[in-house]
């Protein structure tokens, strides 16, 4: 083992039961450097990190062969051969780990201060009062405001980003030499992700730690890594310094993966969204398939398909013995927009911005507090039952999680046929079966798949099934609510292309709800940016992305990690949290007014302090 290396994994094999999950994996981590392990789902990247921590045994896996050498002072120790007792001393003290889900990795019944104090008294042998002081210092270290007060708070009182920072503080409690971060920012909004990434980078410099950063996001890799290991199906594909990997990928798989990543700014100078050829691997060689064509499908000269006028949706929060309303979630406030036939309108914003609520209201899954939804000139409120039912046929909804949006007990054929039978579009069994087969083939599956159950399919295939189901009733508008967020990038690129192909073919309109700015840039004709339930900027995709005018839009765009290590830049960092849409009764938010900044490009008026992220957190 080279003296500059802190950790060296040699020919590691890990299996769960009969299936080998990690095969002959070799890589090493230099002291004080960041190694990113990148791969799609099922690549074995998380299992690798669990193997280093020797947590795989805990999950019924086993390390079959290989060494995990760790430099401990002058000695090298093989973590793979260590007994449980010795390993406990390594965990936390030498190597610490942070996980993806900050919501579940803190114990909800203890104050966070107590949870940090526990680690300090256990590992460092500090007295309780000294540990409490140290805990406060750690919370300061991860840039949490009011650290002293936070010690006595419970996890549910903190936002996701704050919880992840508490997790980092806990991981750093014993000054580990190696930090393993397993998708630490995947569950967070982009602006919060940018904060967390910069905190990890700063702390790494200050403490001289090495970091193993596990992620599926090439943008994050370009942002943080010194070296990169690309994994696929349990094997290492290639390892290279980050600049080399992005500039000159050696292996076909890496090239295909990089080409599938949507890059923010790649559509600069173009008015319309574009279908681009996909790079797929065929016979171990990357090949380009598909067409390159601008999508001129939007028909702005026609009347809008759906109009929303001054939509307000609020949710009451009841507290106390008699369930009186004390607070309200102001999910949507005075939103007005039009969706034209054949266009893709993107709603972007972070969690709590109300983007899903707008989609749910159009789909009649949610009743508006006030305001109107107008379909082809007729307000929803004035519609008869039959007309409302017809609206449910003409507007379809695709959900984020393809694993949750199909009934596990029904065959794929049943699910795809359900809109047809519900609306009585076809009357005999044979015709329905034919149509289902046709739809499945249309989305790139085969007709035999109708007999199978959802659990037999991968995430991408399930999302295709959901698209087939949405197409079954011949809709004019499809609301895609984060429909690409749960998918791997290569699958995501294929689904984006499928969406665009269907738009060309059927002149579909999409309401595309997403937090992913790069995907939005690829797909949409027009964009509306939401912040705390109000539109702060809307206009053509080109106007919003190339001349962002509102400070929030600018901040959102600058927070997106760009998959280009040469483009690391200083960004506009936010100090606090995303403000909460929960307000006390009577404390109504100010309604921003939109001004036409350029033809078709509307920007909200900004008061001096208006869209400043507030450092406050809500209970």
């Amino acid at each position: 083992m080279n003296p500059s290396e802190l950790l060296s994994v040699q020919s590691l094999n890990v299996s769960f039961g009969a299936s080998t999950v990690v095969e002959e994996l070799c890589f090493s981590v230099e002291q004080g450097k960041t190694l990113a392990i990148v791969g799609e789902s099922g690549s074995g990247k998380s299992v690798t990190s669990l193997a280093i921590m020797r947590l795989v045994e805990h999950m019924n896996g086993s390390i079959n062969s290989g060494k995990i050498l760790y430099r401990h002072g002058e000695k090298e120790i093989d973590l793979a051969a260590l007994d449980d007792k010795a390993m406990r001393k390594v965990r936390g003290k030498e190597i610490a780990m942070i996980f993806q889900e900050p919501m579940t990795s803190l114990n909800p019944v203890f104050a966070i201060g107590d949870q940090i104090v526990e680690i300090l008294t256990l590992h460092e042998g500090l007295s309780r009062s000294a540990a409490r002081k140290e805990a406060q210092r750690l919370l300061d270290l991860v840039r949490l405001p009011d650290a002293k007060e936070l010690l006595d708070r419970y996890p549910h009182q903190l936002s996701g980003g704050m919880r992840q920072r508490v997790m980092i503080a806990m991981a750093l409690a014993c000054r580990p030499k190696l930090l393993i971060a397993d998708e630490p920012t995947t569950a967070l909004d982009v602006t919060i992700q940018a904060q967390i990434l910069s905190i990890i980078a700063d702390l790494q410099r200050e403490l001289g730690m090495a970091v193993v950063f596990i992620t599926h996001d090439m943008g994050v890799v370009a942002e943080v890594a010194d070296d990169v290991v690309v994994m696929n199906k349990g094997k290492k594909v290639e390892q290279a310094p980050v600049a080399d990997l992005f500039a000159n990928p050696q292996k076909a798989y890496t090239r295909a993966l990089l080409s599938a990543v949507p890059k923010l700014g790649s559509m600069a100078g173009q008015d319309l969204p574009r279908r681009e050829p996909l790079t797929v691997i065929k016979d171990n060689q990357p090949q380009e398939v598909g067409v390159s064509r601008a999508l001129d499908t939007a028909r702005y000269e026609e009347a809008p398909l759906i109009s929303i006028r001054n939509l307000v949706t609020r949710f009451d929060i009841r507290k106390g013995l008699f369930g009186g309303v004390t607070h309200r979630v102001h999910a949507v406030e005075q939103v007005t927009l039009d969706i034209f036939p054949g266009e893709t309108l993107a709603l972007v914003g972070e969690s709590g911005s109300g983007k899903s609520t707008i989609g749910r209201t159009i789909q009649q899954l949610q009743d508006p507090t006030s305001g109107e939804v107008i379909f082809k000139g007729k307000p929803l409120a004035a519609m008869s039952k039959a007309e409302k039912m017809q609206l449910r046929q003409k507007v379809q909804y695709i959900f984020q999680d393809p694993f949750a949006s199909l009934d596990p007990r029904k065959t794929v054929g049943f699910s795809v046929a359900e809109p047809i039978t519900t609306h009585g579009l076809l009357d005999n069994r044979a015709a329905i079966d034919r149509r289902v087969a046709e739809l499945l083939e249309r989305v790139g599956l085969s007709s035999e798949h109708a007999e199978r159950y959802p659990h037999e399919f991968s995430g991408g295939q399930r999302q295709r099934i959901c698209i087939a189901r949405a197409l079954a009733s011949n809709p004019e508008l499809i609301i895609a609510d984060e429909a690409l967020s749960a998918l791997d990038v290569s699958i995501q690129a294929q689904i984006i292309d499928l969406f665009m192909e269907l738009q060309e073919e059927r002149n579909l309109a999409y309401l595309f709800i997403s937090h992913d700015m790069a995907v939005v840039e690829r797909m949409s004709h027009r964009v509306a940016v939401l912040y705390l339930g109000q539109i702060v900027e809307k206009g053509s995709r080109r106007a919003v992305f190339e001349t962002p005018t509102h400070s929030y839009t600018k901040r959102l765009l600058s927070a997106v990690p760009v998959a280009d290590p040469g483009a690391r830049r200083k960004r506009i960092l936010l100090t606090g949290d995303i403000a909460s849409p929960v307000r006390a009764v009577g404390n109504e938010p100010a309604i921003v007014s939109l001004n036409e900044h350029a033809p078709g490009h509307f920007v909200a008026e900004e008061a001096a302090k208006s869209i400043n992220h507030q450092g406050e957190h809500h209970a």
Binding site: G17, A18, S19, Q363, Q364, L365, M389, R392, Q393, Q396, Y397, F399, Q400, D401, A404, S405, L406, D407, P408, R409, K410, T411, E418, P419, T422, H423, G444, L445, S446, H449, Y453, H455, E456, F457, S458, G460, Q461, R464, C466, R469, S473, Q494
Partner: protein, 291 residues
Amino acid sequence: MANSSASSNAPAKKLNLSRFKNLEFVLGILLAGGIGLAVALSWLLFPDGGRAVNLMARLTPPFADPAHLLGTDPLGRDILARVIIGGRISLTVGIVSTAGAVIIGVIMGLIAGYYRGIWDMVVMRFADIQLALPFILLAITFIAIIGGGLVNTIILLIVSQWVQYARLVRGSVLALREREFVQSARAIGVKDINIILRHLLPNLLGPVIVLMTINVANNILLESSLTFLGLGVDPTIPSWGGMLAEGRTYLQTAWWISVFPGVAILLTVLGLNLLGDWLRDTLDPTGRTRI
């Protein structure tokens, strides 16, 4: 793209599991079916209804006399005959009352969980009140008003047991109705009744079936407590629970009087349990057990 996602090692695992599942089914059918058949044929096997008293042969131990294979009770009545005949009452009460409670409980739970609001309030507060009432108090009141007998005992058991199912189902529905596939069905415009029958009901049957198999045994024993207190079925008709209670006083001298009806209950419940497990897993296409 259209490749199957099943991993290569799955078939081997599935095969082992299915062999075990088949064993579960065969054993379940043998036990529950065998006992059911014997009880159904008891009219032919023992035309005297197990009432034949033979004081000369009282308290014969089991396997001592080929005429009384499982021994006799203090009145010299044949235990084997009485166990099989006793199954008539016990199985009828256990199965019918459980089925009734399941039907009412599941319907109430579905309505309360799916529609929430006033339905939920009414059903659940009623359930809470009923859970707070001790069973014996409820039983005495109930029997005092409408009288004893087989049918009334069954009704009493249904009334006292449906609450558990309602609570269980309501809980599952509350979780399920927020799941995206239910939302997705609503988005398409599927009618409430179809959402409930096609999407909710199949997804919550698993835990209901488990509770059901336990409940059958429980109800067989409750019937005997009622009979013991003089609130249940006519005590002169043998039932498993009744025989258990009778044998209590002889437990040290003639263990077989209560042990054999106990074994009958045990085997029935075991058989139903195995069948229930098999049914639950067969209904679940993912092949995973989720409770």
